[in-house]
Each structure stands twice: as C-alpha cells, then as structure tokens.
C-alpha cells in the first residue's frame, strides 16, 4: 500500500472516530462509525487481508450499523440536548487517554520489530479466502464451534431480553 493511501485512510478513519465521540446525535455518530470502519476495511485490504476487509464491510457497515440505526430509530432517540461534557470527566478522560497514548508511543519507540518494513510475501496471488477458511475450519475448529455456541447464546439472549410480554 502506498504511504499516501495509508495516511489518507488513517487520518480519515481517526477523523471519523473523533466524529463518533463528538457528535451529539447518535445517528450521526453511527454514520461516522460506518465511515471509520470503511476506512479501516481499506487499510485491511492494503495489508493484503482482502477477506477480512470484505467481512468488515459486510458485518459492520452492513449488519451492525443497521442494528444500531434500527435501535436508535426504534427508541426514537433524540440528540443529547444541552447535555454538555462534564468538565471533570473531560479532563480526566483526556488525561487518561493521553497518558495511554504516551505509553503507547513509548512502547512503539522501544519496539525493535516496529521500525522494520513489512516483509514481502512469498506468493504472487493470495488465495486468501481459501486460506482463511482452511485455517478456520481445520485448525481452529474447536474455537470456531465455541464461537458458534456463543452466537447461539447471544441470540437466545436477545430473544429473552427483548421479547414482549405475552398477552
């Protein structure tokens, strides 16, 4: 991936991220989130992870966002009215996040592998879906089954929690 594209998508992604936080209207936040995730998907593609990039778009932009928007609409949520940030929370939150970033920079600086460029791939074309699928269904079978149960539990949960009283 060319650095230009990287910087463009990264900055856009972060900008959308900031927008998620700053928007008072949940709908706007949700849409910003979609934007951020689309940029992220582009970065994935740039890292030769095409399948994951596609999944990212499908699952997040396609499913999760719809879910968010759906709930926002369902509950008919309005924008936060005059609900300003609590200054103490703002300072505290910013300080904690800032400190975290500072530590992160410190870690990155002293991380020897970090300053190395990405090695070249040994193949011309990545048979990426097949490879991921192979790993997933063969080697990672057990965790995969587990995640399947997890999804089942989640759906039971959703049903249980949101079902209406049986009149």
């Amino acid at each position: 991936m060319s650095p230009v594209l990287f910087w463009a998508f990264t900055l856009l992604m972060l900008a959308f991220g900031v927008s998620v936080i700053l928007n008072r209207n949940p709908v706007a936040s949700a849409l910003s989130l979609v934007g951020s995730f689309l940029c992220l998907a582009s970065l994935f593609v740039g890292l030769d992870a095409f399948f994951i990039g596609v999944i990212q778009v499908l699952v997040y932009a396609g499913a999760v966002m719809v879910l968010f928007l759906f709930i926002i609409m369902l509950l008919d949520l309005k924008a936060e009215q005059r609900r300003r940030f609590n200054p103490i929370a703002l300072v505290g939150g910013a300080a904690v996040s800032g400190a975290f970033v500072a530590f992160l920079l410190h870690v990155l600086k002293s991380f020897p592998a970090g300053s190395r460029a990405f090695p070249n791939l040994g193949v011309e074309r990545l048979d990426d879906v097949r490879l991921v699928g192979f790993a997933l269904f063969n080697h990672f079978n057990l965790p995969f089954q587990t995640v399947g149960v997890l999804v089942l539990v989640a759906s039971i949960g959703v049903v249980v929690l949101s079902r209406r009283e049986l009149k």
């Binding site: 936080i21 989130l33 990212q56 460029a117």
Partner: protein, 108 residues
C-alpha cells in the same frame, strides 16, 4: 514519505483504540458508548491484521492465525452488540432512558 513500517499501523491502531477508550469515558448515551467500544475492538483488529501481514511464515504467506482471530473478534463484537442493544431496549422499556447518569441506583 518513507516506507510504511509496522509501527505506522500500530500507531494508527493505538490512536483509534485510545479514541474509543476516551469515548467510553466521555459519552453518556449508552448506544454511543457501544459504538466507542466497537472502535476499540476494531483498533485491535487493525493491529492484528498488521501483525498478520508482518509475520510472514516460511511458506511466504501472512500468518492466518491472526486473521482467524480477527474473524472471531468481529463475530464476538457483533454478538456483544446484539445482546447489548437488546438490554438497552429492555432498559428503555423499563426506564425510558439510555443515559448512564440515570443508572446510579446501585452504588457504594
């Protein structure tokens, strides 16, 4: 512009993670908080994919273990969101609110 290194991606991912984290601490609307949590998980995904690409195996392929993990993370995140939103719906029905400051009856 110099060549892209692993650190570029890690930094991007870290910043996104921090943004999400800051959002969790700052926002009051539970739905927005959930969005911020999604940001954090996706930040992790970005690092993972970068690491996957970085750890090219002897066969010359990216390390797909990481991508499988990303796949799992996306699934789990979706499931979490589903359950979370269900709870929010139940909460809204019971209390007509989605704001965290209305949820302070359990304390001390």
């Amino acid at each position: 512009m110099q060549t892209l290194t692993l650190n570029h991606y890690l930094l991007a991912s870290g910043l996104l993670f921090s943004l999400g984290f800051a959002g969790v601490m700052l926002r009051r609307n539970i739905i927005t908080i959930f969005m911020c949590l999604e940001l954090m998980l996706n930040a992790a995904n970005l690092s993972l994919v970068a690491f996957s690409r970085f750890h090219v195996g002897t066969d010359g392929l990216p390390n797909y273990n990481a991508q499988v993990l990303v796949f799992f993370i996306i699934t789990v995140a979706a499931a979490e969101v589903a359950v979370g939103l269900a709870v929010i719906v139940a909460l809204y029905r019971a209390r007509q609110t989605t704001h965290v400051e209305d949820l302070q009856s359990l304390k001390f």
